[in-house]
């Protein structure tokens, strides 16, 4: 390369304490680096080429700096002055590794040429961090750089001034390794699985050996990696399909042997309910139900737990991006996102942090920022979610990302024909996320963060937005015959799945790369984001090319579908994979597991103390699982696409909505979609069976509260569990699955999609396993016939009566009261059991909504019990409530015990008779009336027990999530 001048521009804010710098400073403190006193960020731009001073000035003023709030300086890099060293002030600079795609640099060159400055040949970007701290050590700077400023997978850093590297063409290496798997001993097989982090057990490795021994050859590394990925827990769900021997002390409700949990419990419920409006369940990238005669809606919820534990921003970011592609994979337009997040205690002392684990506060802030970044930029409203804190999630946070899509009915194609081209659309391929599918199937330990660094992916929502634009148009023009997304396992998984009924022959040499040096197995397995694979009849390639060029999306033809029943992968014509579909997709031996059915817990923590009712009330309101999530909800765009009718926060006081209601743009009539969720691992800790019953009920009653048609409601399951090889874990799993089956049948809510994540465990250095509590998320999606009639939780009018509707059975097992104060003596101590009348009751309530204007507000009873539900309705409406508890049970039990199957309903005063007629025959208690005076007053038998102003209630409820106490 000719030696050309290189110019370096430094852009910083002209005021101190800009948002980005402040955030880095607080993150540095979260890392435990309290000695850092200040961080100031600046952006670096490097330009290579012969340029005039006037051109440099023009670029500085019009391209790089905002003249009102920023300052800029530049100089030729070979004239760089060594800055005077100030004691206690350090400079650290970060830039991309050579060859990593730098989208901003590409834009700079394009923009400079647009500005008629053709002398700009190359550009590069970087960041400068000026760090101050008198007590800082050199080592601290490196910790900051590695953990905060630079992502080692794509970036490098120096203390001082960094040298820019400019883009070069990216070429792969053709290196393929041969593995003599056909002649290995059992020990060698196991060593091979471990060395390659394949997470395959001996039986599975033996099956691979047998296959290749019969062929009389070893396998290539590409073949081995592909089999490991295809057979991973993540892709094939071997635990849910395993043959499970059931071991129970007492007579159990399970058969002695369960052959596939999926077929015995989850799918079975869907088959037995046989709802005609279910369009696709468990067979495609997402579950699909009918919206109306013209449209269908799809829903998928995925987890991205392991990546989020290591790199919270990137993990959550790509979790959102991944589930959006799932919905795109059923040819639907993504219209809403949901996020349920679980973290460790935010107040955890640094000394109590397990080795190699990020602090829960850092995970929290990173994950939330990752969700925000992807959802907001791609323009999909984040409308429903939950945040749960528990010590069990310290080393293993959970990140559930959901996406809803809408599509015209009967437009989705899913059968590639032999001869159709295999076309990759979207982002370029790098090393991101390698072995993610197998990595997510492993237990974490202190080294995981270092070893699995390469598994962290980097998201690019704008590219994915372009992919959406292309796919939706290609769908409407009928350009493809099958589609799937590149998720875990990358091209290997996507092409492998699509070709599983036919066959395919592809060549990797043309796959566009982000940077040089990838070997064929890396290209094939890479989990680089923002890529879709579609099957395109050759005649349609020009039309597809036209669309891609309009939206500036890269498209690559890598081969064709065949009818050979074989998957052939080449690199520059040389065959590197040649496997039969039969072996690849059906050759995995069924797992055999043992389950030990747990007895429901009988011992509960006894009450340590029992403060005044008002104090209990305020402590519960401040509990992070109950306290306001507004600080998080507001940073998500929940309005984009203009369809959000019932928003996550409702009423003048921003009460927490039970469910979200969306009217998708472009659909006719008033029909809308309702989204809700149910989640309570605290119940799972004591009784996984009842937890499942309760969380299905919670998802259903949340949706019911806002006005879903209970006969048009479907559910999704997401199990996050510990190691399935532990019989106790499997026992808890079977119990939860049984609960899912029974609850789905009772509510007539079919499962349409599900996902599982195992090995959410941390292995500490002293060999102790720490597993998350059994965590089952139920997400619900249903239809509301008229969005104008949706009901929200905020109280609407003083003097209206309030009813408690449902079989009110307050109990304390797994309750939030018990978390803070223990189980009160003499109070029911088991996990709540939903009443058998609940499903019929939700239908009666739904019928009452047909009398427009009778029901004015509704909220369900959940964590914290009746008192919290009442408080949230007051908060939302900014009205008070005079609450009169029914006699017969202790006030403490009624106020703070938790129950399933109950709703608190505000009814229009003049229309109480109509209401009572509609819900006749169900348990119902007139329990209070709305008051203009903003006070919540609780009394029982004429005696006043609590009197708190809504202001005081709001103050407790608005306790920052980072400050609240989880347990006493």
């Amino acid at each position: 390369m000719e030696t050309l001048p290189v110019f370096r521009f430094v852009v910083s804010f002209s005021y101190s304490g800009d948002a980005r710098s402040s955030r880095y400073l607080s993150d540095a403190h979260l890392l435990g680096l309290k000695e850092v006193e200040g961080i100031a960020c600046a952006d670096l731009y490097f330009i290579r080429g012969h340029l005039l001073e006037a051109e440099l000035e023009q670029m500085a003023a019009r391209l790089f700096a905002d003249p009102v709030v920023q300052q800029i300086e530049w100089q030729r890099i070979d004239n760089l002055l060594t800055e005077m060293k100030t004691p206690g002030v350090y400079q650290l600079e970060v830039a991309y590794h050579p060859g990593v795609t730098d989208p901003v640099a590409e834009q700079i060159v394009r923009a400079a040429h647009e500005m008629r400055i053709p002398g700009v040949l190359n550009a590069a970007t970087g960041q400068r961090f000026t760090i101050s701290g008198r007590k800082l050590k050199e080592l601290d700077l490196h910790i900051l750089a590695r953990r905060l400023f630079a992502n080692p997978v794509i970036q490098r850093y120096v203390v001082g001034s960094i040298e820019p590297v400019f883009a070069q063409p990216a070429e792969a290496t053709a290196q393929v390794e041969e593995i003599s798997v056909h002649t290995m001993t059992d020990e060698e097989l196991l060593a091979c699985s471990t060395d390659r982090r394949a997470a395959l057990d001996l039986t599975e490795m033996q099956a691979i050996r047998a296959y290749f021994a019969a062929k009389g050859r070893g396998c290539s590394d590409v073949e081995f990696e592909m089999i490991a990925q295809t057979w991973s827990e993540h892709c094939v769900h071997k635990t849910f399909k395993a043959l499970v021997d059931v071991n129970s002390a007492s007579p159990s409700s399970h058969p002695i042997q369960v052959n596939s949990i999926l077929n015995t419990y989850i799918r079975k419920a869907t088959q037995e309910i046989a709802a005609p409006w279910v369009i696709s369940a468990f067979t495609d990238n997402a579950g699909v139900i009918a919206f109306d005669d013209d449209f269908e809606v799809s829903f998928k919820v995925e987890t991205h737990n392991h990546p989020s534990a290591i790199e919270p921003f990137g993990g959550a970011n790509t979790g959102v991006g991944g589930v959006i592609r799932d919905v795109l994979g059923v040819s639907a337009k993504p219209i809403a996102a949901t996020d349920i997040l679980c973290f460790g205690p935010q107040t955890l002392a640094a000394d109590d942090l397990p080795e190699g684990v990020l602090h829960p506060r850092r995970i929290f802030s990173g994950v939330v920022a990752g969700v925000q970044d992807y959802g907001n930029k791609i323009g999909i409203p984040t409308v429903n979610g939950a945040i749960w804190f528990d010590a069990g999630y310290t080393a293993n946070p959970l990140v559930f990302c959901g996406c809803v899509g809408i599509a015209p009915r009967r437009r989705h194609q899913r059968s590639p024909a032999p001869g159709d081209r295999v076309v990759v659309l979207g982002g370029r391929t790098g090393r991101d996320g390698l072995r993610g599918a197998t990595f997510s199937s492993m237990t974490m330990d202190a080294q995981t963060g270092e070893v699995a660094g390469a598994s962290v992916q980097i998201g690019d929502p704008i590219t994915e937005k372009g992919v959406i634009e292309v796919i939706l148009r290609a769908r409407d023009q009928g350009l493809y015959t099958a589609i799937t997304d590149c998720g875990a396992g990358g091209l290997s998984s996507a092409v492998g799945e699509m070709a599983s009924e036919t066959g395919a022959d592809v060549d990797l040499v043309n796959v566009p790369l982000k940077y040089p040096g990838l070997s064929p197995w890396e290209i094939w397995l890479s989990e680089s984001q923002e890529r879709m694979v579609i099957a395109v009849p050759p005649a349609n390639l020009p039309a597809l090319g036209e669309l891609c060029s309009l939206f500036e999306i890269e498209m690559t033809d890598i081969g064709c579908f065949t009818e050979t029943g074989r998957l052939v992968v080449r690199y520059d014509r040389r065959v590197v994979v040649d496997l039969e579909n039969q072996f690849l997709h059906h050759g995995i031996p069924q797992r055999r597991l043992t389950a030990k059915i747990p007895s429901p817990a009988s011992v509960f923590p006894p009450a340590s103390r029992c403060p005044e009712l008002s104090d209990i009330f305020l402590s519960l309101l401040a509990h992070p699982n109950i306290a306001s999530k507004e600080a998080v909800i507001r940073i998500y765009d929940h309005e984009v696409q203009g369809g959000t009718s019932v928003k996550p926060l409702t009423g003048r006081g921003n009460g927490p909505s039970d469910a979200c209601v969306i009217k998708p743009l472009g659909t006719g009539g008033n029909t809308g979609v309702v989204l809700s969720n149910g989640f309570n691992p605290e119940y799972g800790r004591y009784d996984p069976y009842r937890m499942a019953l309760c969380v299905v009920d919670e998802a259903v009653r949340n949706a019911a509260a806002v006005g879903v048609d209970p006969d048009r409601l479907a559910i999704l399951d997401n199990f996050c569990w510990g190691d399935p090889l532990q019989p106790e874990n499997m026992g808890a799993l079977l119990e939860a699955a049984r609960g899912c089956y029974e609850a789905a049948l009772a509510n007539r809510t079919p499962f349409i999609s599900g996902k599982d994540s195992f090995n959410n465990e941390y292995l500490s250095k002293d060999g102790k396993r720490q597993s998350i509590p059994p965590s089952l998320l139920i997400s619900a999606i249903g239809i509301i016939p008229n969005v104008n009639q949706a009901i929200t939780l905020d109280f609407k009018k003083p003097e209206n009566p309030v009813f408690l509707l449902g079989d009110f059975q307050p109990s304390f097992g797994g309750s939030h009261f018990a978390l803070l104060f223990g189980t009160p003596e003499g109070a029911p101590h088991e996990v709540p059991l939903p009443s058998t009348c609940a499903p019929a009751l939700y239908r009666a309530y739904y019928n009452a909504l047909g009398l427009h204007g009778v029901v004015r507000a509704c909220h369900d009873l959940s964590e914290g019990g009746l008192a919290i539900a009442a408080a949230e309705m007051c908060l939302g409406g900014q009205f008070g409530l005079q609450l009169e508890l029914p006699k017969g049970r202790e006030a403490l039990i009624q106020l703070f015990g938790e129950t399933a199957g109950c709703l608190l309903v505000e009814v229009e005063a003049a229309r109480v008779d109509e209401w009572l007629e509609k819900v006749a025959g169900f348990p119902i208690y007139p329990i209070g009336r709305v008051t203009l005076q903003p006070r919540l007053v609780v009394s029982c038998a004429g005696q006043q027990l609590i009197s708190l102003s809504i202001q005081d209630i709001a103050a407790a409820w608005r306790t920052p999530l980072t400050q609240g106490q989880l347990e006493s």
């Binding site: 948002a19 700079i108 203009g642 009217k663 905020d794």
Partner: protein, 259 residues
């Protein structure tokens, strides 16, 4: 005949369909057009009577929100964009579109297009992206988009860089002197929000939510009136929505009909 409305789609634009719906309900004929279609001359600026630059993250916000779209407007499409503005046809920049209009110099005044901006839109005072419903008071009577509007407008904001900051206090006097303060943030009761968070959600100087050019045909604003054009979009189910964002689009469409 319904006026044809050009809704500009740059890579990363995401509220184009929302704006199209608002235009449709206001009686216009919207067409979402990708910049590349204009570059290839498959579409022509002059065929439209109104222009909307919708919200989103054009060019992924590379080099700052709206910066690169601003370059397209002032360099690649300098002639077309400026002649559109100078023809007096209505132009609306919402959120990212507003940022582009400001960074291109089209706002506050296309007549003194110079490399140094007088005002900018930068990071919210809170340091965070924020999505919430706010109340707006239409102020300018010379702005074709807000002239004659009496009632408050309720609609959401959803942005991280919407804080209007001025190069000097004199800029504010200039804006006021020329009736260029189009919309200000107010409390729900209609009193001025000034700096009070969250009614002024981003810390904008003088509570300014939107400004227009001197001629009054170009309006830029951070909030999203296109997300309150139907009654069920309004969050407070207890109060009937007595003001909505649709009036802005109706004003624009009715003004556009003359061209």
């Amino acid at each position: 005949m319904k006026p044809k409305v050009l809704i500009l789609h740059a890579t990363g634009t995401n509220r184009d369909h929302d704006a199209a719906l608002a235009v449709e309900l206001a009686g216009g004929f919207p067409e979402i057009v990708h910049l590349n279609q204009l570059r290839r001359a498959e579409r022509r600026w002059s065929d439209y009577q109104m222009l909307i630059l919708p919200g989103g993250f054009s060019y992924a916000d590379a080099l700052g929100a709206g910066r690169l779209l601003a370059l397209d407007l002032t360099i690649y499409f300098a002639e077309e964009a400026l002649s559109f503005v100078n023809s007096g046809k209505p132009v609306l920049g919402i959120c990212n579109g507003f940022q582009a209009l400001v960074k291109s110099g089209i706002l506050p005044d296309p007549d003194d297009l110079e490399p140094t901006q007088k005002l900018t839109l930068t990071h919210n005072a809170s340091g965070n992206f924020e999505c919430r419903w706010i109340s707006l008071l239409p102020v300018s009577q010379s702005c074709v988009w807000t002239a004659g509007l009496q009632e408050l407008i309720f609609c959401p904001v959803a942005h991280g860089e919407g804080r209007l900051m001025l190069k000097s206090p004199a800029v504010l006097d200039g804006l006021r002197d020329h009736d260029q303060v189009a919309l200000v943030y107010v409390r729900p009761d209609g009193s001025l929000a000034d700096d009070a968070y969250p009614d002024n959600p981003n810390g904008s100087t003088a509570g300014i939510a939107g400004i227009c050019n001197r001629r009054g045909n170009v309006l830029g604003l951070m909030p999203h009136p296109e997300n309150h054009v139907l009654p069920w979009q309004f969050p407070h189910k207890s109060i009937p929505p007595y003001g909505s964002g649709l009036v802005i689009f109706k004003n624009g469409v009715s003004f556009a009909s003359q061209f």
